[in-house]
């Protein structure tokens, strides 16, 4: 990580020394033509200059901030900012034309909701169809704090009962049955949920209602429908679990990793699956693309019985205007997104607790980014 950045910086220095900055044409300094970057281990970033603002999902905050940092350290002339106010706010600002692209946990809805059809409104603002580009794969971890138990397997049924408050202690026979050989204490289970409306909650309850239909009957929504105690944002639930013995919650992978929390393995029916980028990639690969053309809408199968596929995950999208925007901004957006969707861009996300897109999906996204104009 550090070494990479150092390499990148030296690459920048080299590029600067050779006056080979491939920045936008509106740049005053003498700029020779040709693609920039080159040296070092990082990808060829085709730099653009200017300023771009994005807003939206907090689930991809760490990923996009990392990508922006990497991008900007290679492209000094570019200023990108991402405001993690939540998917709803991001889409709203995007439709209002306030930001250049939005980050969202779910695709723009094409069904009317109280008279609002997001795809139509977005197309109106853009003057062209808006595209959903899956960019960041954020697995959702079920994290827990039970001293002495560093390996825990959960099935959808047991997870649903825990999060509904039906299983109240850690040594409950239902948990013991699927965790043979693990010494479970009699601690009370404290369930924590997201008190704010959150795409993570929506995806987690989507998972539960898809896999434990009989137990989890509530409709998936951004508002928690189980039991427990609500904490604000991912940071809130993660730190609550960390400080509460017997606590359990669902949170993005990065928060579990950052807080050094134990992560449960999920058994959808084909054996326990550990959460790592390989198992997540496998699940994304299994998702169906229901979008048309360059608009990519992934439909995840939460109940997948595919061996070794980690089923609880969230794919966050960047929502962009397909064409007809301010030229300089489009150039920068395109340049940034093509770095973001590049192999190296995706790979670097792993350090922040996100899984890279599987190759097949990634190439599709790259092609869509290339088609932006």
């Amino acid at each position: 990580m550090k070494i990479q950045r150092f390499g990148r910086m030296s690459a920048v220095a080299l590029v600067g020394a050779l006056a080979l900055t491939a920045c936008g044409s509106d740049n005053n300094t003498t700029s020779a033509s040709g693609t920039a970057g080159g040296g070092g281990s990082t990808a060829n970033i085709d730099c653009a200059a200017g300023e771009v603002q994005a807003e939206g999902s907090s689930a991809q905050k760490n990923a996009i901030e990392l990508a922006i940092k990497n991008y900007q350290s290679a492209c000094a002339e570019a200023t990108l900012s991402y405001n993690p106010t939540g998917s709803g706010a991001g889409i709203k600002q995007f439709i209002a034309g306030q930001v250049d692209f939005a980050g969202s946990d779910s695709v723009l809805s094409d069904q009317p909701e109280e008279g609002v059809v997001e795809t139509e409104d977005a197309a109106k603002t853009c003057g062209s169809p808006a595209w959903n580009l899956p960019m960041v794969t954020g697995p959702i971890a079920i994290t827990y704090n039970v001293p002495g138990v560093d390996k825990l397997v959960l099935t959808p049924d047991v997870a649903a009962q825990i999060f509904q408050g039906r299983i109240t202690t850690w040594d409950d026979p239902a948990i013991a049955k699927i965790n043979q050989g693990v010494k479970l204490p009699g601690t009370r289970i404290s369930v924590f949920f997201r008190a704010d409306e959150s795409g993570t909650t929506e995806n987690f309850t989507k998972y539960l209602s898809a896999t434990a239909k009989d137990l989890w009957t509530a409709d998936p929504s951004k508002v928690w429908s189980g039991k427990g105690e609500g904490k604000n944002k991912s940071a809130g639930v993660a730190s609550a679990v960390k400080s509460t013995e017997g606590g359990i919650t669902y949170a993005e992978w990065s928060y579990a990793v950052d807080n050094k929390l134990d992560i449960a393995q999920i058994d959808n029916g084909a054996g326990p699956v550990e959460l790592n980028s390989r198992t997540v990639g496998k699940a994304v690969d299994a998702a169906k693309n229901v979008g048309k053309g360059h608009d990519i809408r992934l439909e995840l199968d939460y109940a997948t019985k595919e061996k070794g596929a980690y089923p609880i995950l969230l794919v966050t999208y960047e929502i962009v205007c397909s064409k007809g925007q301010d030229e300089a901004k489009t150039k920068l957006t395109k340049s940034f997104l093509s770095y973001f969707s590049s192999k190296d861009g995706q790979k670097s996300l792993e350090a922040a607790g996100y899984a890279p897109l599987p190759e097949e999906v990634r190439t599709k996204v790259s092609a869509s980014v290339d088609a932006l104009s």
Partner: protein, 336 residues
């Protein structure tokens, strides 16, 4: 709000202006400066009134459509499901949590604040009084998110035993009965942190008025053989009562509206959690509920539901201030 209502009676008693019915008529000889200043002051007053009215109108205009669409009883329901096809929402839990946490805060902050103010104005030597007052004021400058984080992560663990003790000794009363909320994420603890946050307001305002106790009263009491405590009880406290009440009400206003600190400390409850009067329960106040929901406002009706909750907070604060006015005015009449 209190500023506006306070300004009105003073203006009426104003001996120079000739009363509101004849603002400029008798002042033909008035100089330009007079007129400019009078106009500016009047403008400022009107501006504040206009802002409050506009806020009220905005809240009403947004809240009413959502309220009309509400399928549950807004005042008594404990449900909160908004954003879908049919919205069901009520404010009962929020009202309880808001009022309970603020009352806890006042129960702690008012006696403590008055004591600190008495110490600073009556007991402390001059060299100590000023720095002490300054330090208390400094508390007011701490951002509320700092209070929240400090409360939740630093003080919280130490407060837990206190709660457990209250629960084991007073657990038979509904106020301290068992709940499922873990640690110090409770209404009681939120109230304690709120108390610290409103302390500077209570201390500064009551200190200000205690310091104005006429020296003749105090010396008279002492001359009659009163001890220091008796002097304070018979002169300073009665004189300062209206001030203390205003201070308490101003503090209460802050406690009712406090958002971030409460949001960090308090555990929200899942929809459908059984009702409990316990102070050891979690919940959300009006302000923290709105703050929790705000990032995901999507449809006007959903936003309206939250704004309706905000409207209740607005009205609640208004009522509290009105009560304070009435109390202060009555006290004044009594002492004069």
């Amino acid at each position: 709000m209190s500023g506006t209502t306070g300004a009105a009676p003073t203006a009426r008693r104003d001996p120079f202006g000739g009363g509101p019915s004849d603002p400029q008529g008798t002042r033909k000889t008035g100089r330009l400066g007079d007129r400019l200043f009078g106009g500016a002051a009047r403008g400022a007053g009107l501006l504040v009134i206009a802002i409050v009215v506009l806020v009220g109108v905005f809240l009403l205009s947004r809240a009413v459509p959502a309220l009309l669409d509400n399928r549950a009883n807004f005042l008594t329901s404990t449900e909160w499901s908004v954003g879908g096809e049919s919205q069901r929402f009520g404010i009962a839990t929020m009202l309880w949590v808001t009022v309970a946490s603020s009352v806890v805060a006042m129960v702690i902050a008012v006696p403590l604040g008055v004591s600190v103010a008495l110490f600073i104005t009556q007991y402390a030597p001059t060299w100590l009084a000023r720095p002490a007052a300054g330090l208390v004021q400094l508390l007011a400058a701490v951002p509320s998110i700092v209070f929240g984080i400090w409360g939740a992560y630093v003080v919280g663990p130490y407060f837990e035993p206190v709660q457990n003790l209250l629960n084991s000794v007073l657990g038979w009363t509904p106020l301290f009965s068992d709940t499922t909320v873990s640690g110090s994420s409770t209404i009681l603890f939120a109230g304690v942190v709120l108390a610290i946050m409103v302390l500077p307001i209570v201390t500064a305002m009551s200190g200000e008025i205690f310091a104005q106790t006429p020296t003749t009263h105090r010396e008279g009491a002492l001359a009659l053989g009163a001890t220091k405590w008796e002097m304070i009880r018979t002169t300073v406290l009665p004189f300062g009562k209206p001030g203390v009440i205003s201070a308490a009400m101003l503090g209460l206003g802050r406690a009712l509206g406090e958002t971030v600190a409460v949001m960090i400390i308090l555990s929200a409850l899942a929809d459908g959690t059984a009702w409990s009067w316990s102070l050891l329960n979690g919940g959300e106040t009006f302000a923290s509920k709105i703050a929790n929901g705000a990032p995901e406002f999507t449809t006007p009706l959903q936003t309206g539901a939250y704004i309706a909750a905000g409207l209740v907070l607005f009205v609640l604060t208004f009522v509290v201030n009105a009560i304070a006015r009435v109390v202060i005015n009555r006290r004044k009449a009594f002492t004069e």
